[in-house]
Subunit: 155 residues, 2 copies
């Protein structure tokens, strides 16, 4: 990355120098700034395109297809029921109810559905959501679910 910045600087400097030089040649010509501008624009657009391609080189996404031997079955709960990371949970101050809400969020329920399932009001669900979002440091339910999985709070 530093190399690109360096190249950028070099090209810029070179161009400035070139302009300095050409300025003396065309100093008598009026309205030559537009010419310079166009030149610089085209040049640096090309450079930008090159740079954009360079720094975002298409990494070949090699997809490794797993052919599972029919054993435990990877996806769902493999035998033993999931055990949330109690240490992490207590460290974050996540209560049991909030974790329950988070799990329901992860299963894709809406606030209304959660409220119906837990026999509480939708507002309560929203409060729990807000609390657990705050404790996880996330703002959206999808993010919170992702975070919960990373931290061992969710299967």
């Amino acid at each position: 990355m530093k190399r690109h910045v360096l190249i950028f600087g070099l090209v810029g400097g070179l161009l400035i120098a070139t302009l300095q030089y050409t300025q003396y040649r065309f100093v008598v010509i009026e309205h030559s700034v537009e010419l310079y501008s166009a030149l610089v624009a085209v040049l640096f657009s090309a450079f930008g395109i090159w740079l954009g391609l360079r720094i975002t080189r298409r990494r070949e996404t090699i997809v490794v297809r797993e052919v599972l031997v029919p054993a435990t079955g990877g996806g769902a709960a493999p035998g033993a029921a999931f055990v949330p990371d109690v240490a992490t949970q207590q460290r974050l101050g996540v209560t049991a109810r909030e974790l329950e809400i988070l799990a329901l969020i992860a299963s894709g329920l809406s606030n209304r559905e959660m409220a119906a399932q837990l026999f509480v009001s939708e507002n309560t669900v929203k409060t729990h959501c807000a609390r657990v979002f705050g404790k996880l440091g996330e703002a959206r339910r999808t993010q919170a679910v992702q975070r919960g999985k990373e931290m061992g709070l969710l299967p």
Copy 2:
């Protein structure tokens, strides 16, 4: 593509006009061409990078490589990169772009963030969302993610 050329022309023309205007302001200042040049360089470099990213987001060449794994059933498959179930994907008619969107949804991004990351408009992201939701038979993003995981479209 034509639109990009058009945008290029517009930006260029706008800049030329701006320079024309500012030239009268700084006409008394010597050596201001360097300033113009630097301005134009930075501006069009950014534009070029954007354009380069924009017009070259070609379909990533997916190389499917089948590998036998012992089916440990662990959570995050170590080592092996993930593996969308191509059969399921094609059966549902989920395009690569839509699957990409679904993966970003699963990682917790909002539509706006996805749009910024993919260099498309938020509306486009929403369209992709709606399509993939329809194909998965779900209505909410959390549900769609859950479904995608169950069906092997997501890790």
